[in-house]
Assembly symmetry: C2
Homo-oligomer: 209 residues x 2
């Protein structure tokens, strides 16, 4: 099955069955997400993988009572770092050095470039930039779930402040951005059979030949 | 080949060979991108598909002279709508009505919801929200290219203002956000064989069981 087939299969399930996905499938989705591209490779985000029922009940109340929050198998909450520091960049640079067997000193040019880029941004711009990277990961995660015929619903409609409070994210230096519920569509979901609507190719793309 | 295999194969090529990708492969990548998820399904963006050599030479000068701008087969420039209007929403609603064979009047609740959401955002917030949707499409496009073993390099390093000017985007109500060069890696690209560096699973994910 090609990615195009998988994307044609998927939709944003509004109701899910509560059935759990397998550990193997969860691992595959997380691994694809982990391999996502990000600007300069920094991956300035942390992803909460939430299955706990009590926690999800609290999140549902802060998420317009959307049923997928409790009916999904797992909830992936994408959070960005609240402020990107030189310490974050150091961890990344050490990871490169270790992974590729090179010296940290040899990466100084790259390290300086990343720090320069980050310092050129205001705190708000840093968060927006990190949020954009999160959405690449979200796009990858959606594709990964669809390939396994697991339903995945991206969700922006919730109170990030309340989510942060419920999960103690402020203390961890994290801020909620977007979430994705994964699981299996419920037979009660009336949208399951709806025809997919997308912008026509002629409208979406503009060719400069 | 699974998506995880494809993502492990891919990297952001810094040099490309100039070889053209086939029309079939281009169509697949564009179709996957078109099928990307977006908030409320609106897809508030337009994607320029640029192959013209003269235009690309000009863009390269406004893009820190990065070689992929001219060495790629095609350049996909993701642009957001400069202001999301009720007219945009109307086009979308009519598309849903036509695709699903329902009456526009029956979609009034959904239409009002979208317009309400958009009007709750400042012009800057609208653009940021649209940009995030673009990055889902970028994530999808990267996965689609990797599946076909076509190289794809996401690029944020360019002057959006100059790109907009070169392409006459202001007149079209569009603003450049990010681009993706697609093509084939050059044998001169020293990064082609480098070990992929990603945050470790234990660092990237936080489990709430």
């Amino acid at each position: 099955m090609s990615l195009v087939d998988s994307l044609n299969w998927r939709y944003a399930a509004k109701r899910m069955s509560g059935e759990k996905i397998s550990e193997t499938d969860l691992e595959s989705i997380l691994e694809a997400t982990r391999l996502s591209a990000s600007s300069m490779g920094l991956q300035p985000y942390t992803i909460m993988v939430i299955s706990n029922p009590e926690v999800r009940a609290k999140l549902q109340a802060a998420g317009y009572n959307q049923p997928q929050i409790v009916e999904s198998s797992h909830l992936l909450l994408f959070t960005v770092w609240d402020g990107i520091s030189e310490a974050h960049v150091d961890v990344y640079i050490r990871n490169i050095a270790q992974s590729r067997g090179v010296e940290v000193e040899d990466l100084k040019g790259f390290s300086d470039m990343i720090n320069g880029k980050i310092k050129s941004l205001t705190p708000h711009e840093q968060q927006e930039w990190a949020a954009r990277q999160v959405y690449i990961a979200l796009g990858t995660a959606l594709a990964a779930a669809a390939e396994l015929r697991i339903d995945a619903t991206p969700m922006e409609g919730f109170s990030p402040e309340k989510f942060d409070e419920i999960l103690g994210l402020k203390e961890k230096g994290l801020k909620s951005v977007v979430m994705m519920a994964i699981g299996y569509r419920s037979s009660e979901d009336t949208l399951a059979g709806a025809i997919k609507v997308r912008r026509q190719k002629e409208a979406l793309f503009s060719f400069v030949d």
